[in-house]
């Protein structure tokens, strides 16, 4: 997307705060100079959760909000497997090995006057910094956010402060029952650009719903290096039989209609 070459740093950052904000969903704020390199909402960082060989690889997490004034940024993640569960045990004052910022974020400048921000589960976090950035530019944002159930909903209030916000839960325990597409079906498509992040089937459904609109989607793939060297997170594209992109360094955000997932 935006292929500027910002500086990537590896820094031992300090945890300012960590708290559980929904069922197994943690909000983690860290402080350090690395923050200053961030250039767009939708970028991610690569976190080493332990000094040992277990777990070995870093974990990619999106940047959910940035506080440049205090050199801090916040991530929101679900404690799921070994790595994220270990991360959830860390406390304020602990050090955290962070590599980043990585990847290219959402192209904020592409939106003209009104944008739909469509997120699912742990794909919701990067949309928050995006919503803030768009609002700052005078773009109206509408947020359509999908979660598993009422207990896993987070940041509803924060999004509401920035624009109309619709929630869908799979079991109907909060907001509309079903997926974000059930909400979208009933909303007038009176926006010029959509931005989306979430599970791949959701991204597919969103693209299918708005074939005529300009859209930008953030993809997830298993990664190792996170900087484009190992070729783990490669996806084919619609450009040609032989064209490909690396989610970590060419993405994770791509224009709609490009990535074959």
């Amino acid at each position: 997307m935006i292929t500027q070459q910002q500086k990537i740093r590896q820094e031992c950052m300090v945890i300012v705060e960590q708290k559980e904000i929904a069922d197994s969903i943690f909000e983690l704020t860290v402080e350090g100079a690395l923050t200053e390199e961030m250039s767009a909402p939708g970028q991610f960082v690569h976190i080493r959760v332990a000094d040992s060989y277990e777990p070995l690889l870093r974990r990619p997490l999106s940047v959910a909000s940035i506080d440049f004034e205090h050199s801090r940024f916040t991530m929101i993640y679900r404690a799921e497997g070994r790595g994220t569960n270990l991360l959830a045990e860390k406390r304020a004052g602990d050090a955290l090995d962070v590599l980043g910022p990585l990847g290219n974020g959402f192209p904020v400048d592409k939106a003209k006057s009104k944008a739909f921000l469509i997120g699912g589960g742990i794909g919701v976090p990067p949309l928050y910094e995006l919503a803030k950035a768009l609002n700052k530019k005078g773009i109206e944002t509408v947020h359509i956010l999908g979660f598993e159930n009422k207990k896993s909903v987070f940041y509803e209030e924060q999004f509401r402060e920035l624009g109309d916000t619709y929630i869908a839960t799979v079991d109907g325990s909060h907001g509309t029952k079903g997926f974000v597409t059930h909400v979208l079906d009933r909303l007038p498509a009176d926006f010029d650009t959509y931005f989306s992040c979430g599970p791949t089937p959701m991204l597919e459904a969103v693209q299918a719903a708005y074939p005529e609109k300009q859209g930008f989607l953030s993809y997830e793939q298993r990664m190792a290096c996170g900087i484009g060297a190992c070729f783990a997170c490669v996806c084919r594209t619609t450009k040609s039989e032989t064209d490909y992109v690396k989610v970590c360094s060419d993405g994770p955000v791509f224009a709609a209609g490009v990535v074959i997932s």
Binding site: Y53, L57, A224, F231, A232, C233, R236
Partner: protein, 307 residues
């Protein structure tokens, strides 16, 4: 002054630390992080005659103290490597070890002949050990006679010394090493990944789309070390050792086991600055152990393990 230089066929290394093939691309990504001229050498990604798109994803899976990969030799192909990747690396004062892969002897010969002409390529590493491609690759690395023939064919066309990259997925690695020595190899690099598997406990299905993948990282180090120890005593070829190297102590272990230089793979993913960090720590480590030269350490375990 501690002397960290190492002399190997075709290679005058400032130090014995080399990022391993496939874990460092063609250097561009790491060049954003540090000056590549600090490295002993660079082993670039396997290159094939035609561009390869690699395997479906997921291509990697984490395992206990290691990882599985089935990238499938994705690379931009010989022409692009010759015209773009290698010339770009010329700005750095670092010898390149070009890694050659293929599915037939003719493929290997074609790539080896062309790529050995590049001015900054000082040696070839012949990958006869990739476990992640259906044809070629590992089949050349598991049969001594075929390995020997391929070595001869590549040696006949290469302008620079030829190192053969051995597979650990064999019963008797010494017999393969001896065969490629007889075939005229100038050196060995070892080990490539160990074929492995990981299942998803919920579905019972393999996590990696290719079903199996190559195991690397700290988990494989004891196997790699043992193989370097054995092979270094039964051939006279110099060895670039690798497999799980993650810190300066691991480097000392590989040198002691009989490697003349050491390659670092998976550890680059965990700490992208690991290679220059080890380069900087090595002199002090040697001093601590009472050695003035890296070369004095090579194979010291052989002398200490007399039975």
């Amino acid at each position: 002054m501690i002397d960290t230089t190492v002399s190997l066929p075709g290679l005058e290394l400032k130090n014995p630390i080399i990022p391993s093939s496939g874990c460092f691309g063609f250097g561009k990504e790491y060049a954003r992080l540090y000056d590549l001229s600090q490295l002993g050498a660079i082993m670039v990604k396997s290159t094939t005659v035609e561009p390869r798109l690699g395997n479906p994803t997921p291509r990697v899976a984490e395992t206990a103290s290691g990882m599985l990969n089935a990238i499938g030799l994705q690379n931009p192909g010989l022409q692009k490597v010759m015209e773009e990747e290698l010339p770009w690396l010329e700005q750095y004062d670092v010898p390149i070890i070009a890694n050659v892969a293929g599915t037939t002897t003719e493929d290997y010969v074609e790539v080896a002949k062309a790529i050995s002409q590049a001015p900054n390529v000082h040696a070839l590493e012949i990958n006869i050990s990739c476990p992640n491609v259906k044809e070629g690759g590992i089949t050349f690395g598991t049969d001594p006679a075929i390995a020997q023939q391929l070595t001869q064919a590549v040696k006949a066309v290469s302008r620079v010394p030829v190192y053969i990259k051995l597979s650990p997925n064999v019963t008797d690695i010494v017999s393969i090493a001896k065969a490629v020595e007889a075939g005229g190899a100038d050196g060995l690099t070892m080990i490539n990944t160990l074929l492995g598997m990981r299942l998803d406990p919920k579905t019972g299905r393999p996590v990696i789309a290719n079903m199996t993948g190559g195991l690397s990282g700290p988990a494989v180090k004891p196997v790699a070390l043992r193989m370097v120890y054995e092979v270094s005593q039964q051939t006279s070829l110099p060895i670039i050792g690798m497999g799980g190297v993650s810190n300066v102590d691991d480097v000392i272990d590989f040198l002691s086991a009989g490697a003349s230089a050491v390659a670092v793979g998976t550890a680059n993913f965990v700490n992208p600055f690991i290679c220059p960090e080890i380069v900087n720590q090595l002199p002090e480590k040697l001093q601590e152990l009472g050695y003035d030269k890296v070369e004095e350490l090579v194979g010291r375990s052989h002398r200490l393990c007399v039975r």
